[in-house]
Symmetry: none
Subunit: 306 residues, 2 copies
């Protein structure tokens, strides 16, 4: 297979990767973006984005479509449905099923993903009532009762979104208070369709062919109960998408890639940006900033300045 040569290869087409593509393309670097599925990253599924500065109330898909069109207008090549099958960060080569690529620099923007509960029934019933995305699957639960697992911002925001469809939304949290922002909490406690089950853990998701019942355990009383629901939405934390780089780069204790303030990872010519990078806050703004800085570094590297 012939190897196609680019100045920079960007792995992952969420907000950080697309921003890197905008900046690299605009600076005249030949730029390839490899995306395993479709462009967008996690924000693609958000039905309402109201806190991205400079864009008054939009949705994730619209925001991403604009970023894609900006990146393309500056000459970046974006390949969807192109999962990386092999990568050599030292040698700067990347393979997909269709082709081999090489570059002077690689920007990793593969993002992160939701953690699984790891209880019986979870994997078996994914897509049959078990979901990690209220925006995708909420409308399937019109007039039904569902549960949300978790107590952070995402859990509560998505629970509130689900009240648009479900007749009742149980929020099941293993602690006795929420981690979500105060503003979010106030909104949640005022919502009559939400019901909170505190100090509660899910032991099993049961049902024949589709979700029918949760087995719950109260961690203070050890009491076990059953809860009949048609859907369960799981929001209990996130994992970085770093499997393909395992062991090759320095990471923090949770597996996120460590960089300096120029987004340089522990191998020269390799940069990390966005949700996959070790950082305290993960928002669209922090992703686009990371993507900008990684791109500026790649440009400086191409001119022998870094």
């Amino acid at each position: 297979m012939e190897t196609e040569k680019y100045d920079v290869i960007i792995i992952g087409a969420g907000p950080s990767g697309l921003t890197s593509a905008i900046y690299c393309g605009r600076a005249g670097l030949s730029t390839l973006v490899l995306e395993k599925g479709f462009c967008g990253g996690q924000i693609y599924l958000s039905s309402l984005v109201e806190n991205y500065p400079g864009v008054k109330s939009t949705d994730g898909a619209t925001l991403i479509a604009t970023m894609v069109s900006q990146a393309k207008s500056f000459g970046a090549q974006i390949l969807e449905n192109s999962p990386v099958t092999e990568v050599d960060l030292e040698g700067k080569t990347v393979k997909t099923e269709k082709a081999d690529y090489s570059a002077d620099s690689i920007i990793i923007s593969t993002g992160n993903r939701w953690r699984k509960l790891g209880v019986p029934g979870e994997s078996e019933l994914v897509g049959r009532g078990v979901s990690y995305c209220a925006t995708c699957d909420g409308p399937f639960f019109k007039g039904k009762e569902v549960a949300v697992i978790g107590g952070g911002d995402s859990a509560i925001e998505e629970a509130m979104y689900l009240t648009k469809f479900a007749s009742r939304v149980y929020v099941i949290h293993r602690r006795d208070k929420l981690r979500a922002e105060k503003y979010v909490q106030e909104q949640a406690f005022a919502n009559e369709k939400l019901e909170f089950l505190w100090d509660t853990q899910v032991k099993e998701i049961a049902g024949s062919g589709k979700v029918e019942k949760l087995s719950l355990e109260n961690s203070k009383t050890n009491e076990t109960t059953g809860l009949e629901v048609s859907g369960v939405f799981i929001y209990i934390g996130m994992l970085p998408n770093t499997e393909m780089f395992k062991g090759a780069l320095e990471t923090d204790e949770r597996g996120y890639i460590k960089t300096n303030e120029r987004m340089q990872a522990s191998i020269k010519g390799v940069y990390a940006a966005g949700d996959v990078r070790s950082s305290p806050v993960k928002q669209i703004t922090t992703a686009t900033s990371d993507g900008t800085v990684a791109a500026v570094s790649a440009v400086q590297q191409s001119q022998g300045l870094l």
Copy 2:
């Protein structure tokens, strides 16, 4: 004078300050933004912004107007024409001519400014060929001849960046050698599109409606010449807008405020965000990211989490 109390006071209403206001307001903090002039910061003057992700070709004023409306929609109070006359960062009190304010946290987003040449035509032609940012405006000069004023690292790096677009880049420096680092110089001297004019000062920037010509003077021979260019990029140094905090906070050697990755400055409850902060890249994206992180920190502080 009575003291008005807020949860957070943000000093400066550019992209970073306004983003902090959006995030603080949305999180339910009472938020005051004090702006010495009008909202916008440096980006306000940009006539075309095409690399802010998610917004397809806009201008600085439009982008800022949207951010202002977002911040107001979440309850932030923004006071323009309200220069801070006195500030006590330890005590978290801020005075303007009109009122006294106090808060639990202060976010400093006062930005920086280019040192001006101070020659006729400079102010009049800003945004019409006079620029202080090659990364922002370089692509507008494809196939044209431009000049860069200065001899430091920034001047030379930006001049090299401009060679990607311009047909010729004159580097005009008042001394007979560069201040830039040696390896930067080597790259520069090897670049055939760069032409160096030594011992040369700009006396005037001329043009009707847009930059057309520079009047130059050789400081050794006193000879005066004209140079036809379409753009002039001025890099004779930047200054952080930190005068009002002099000595109160740790800064880097150039006077920019040092923070950790949560944007915490060296006094508890004080955060810095955007161009005033010590950081390697300064773009709208990096400013909105800083503003986001500073706000998230202020919110966490208000909940006793930081």
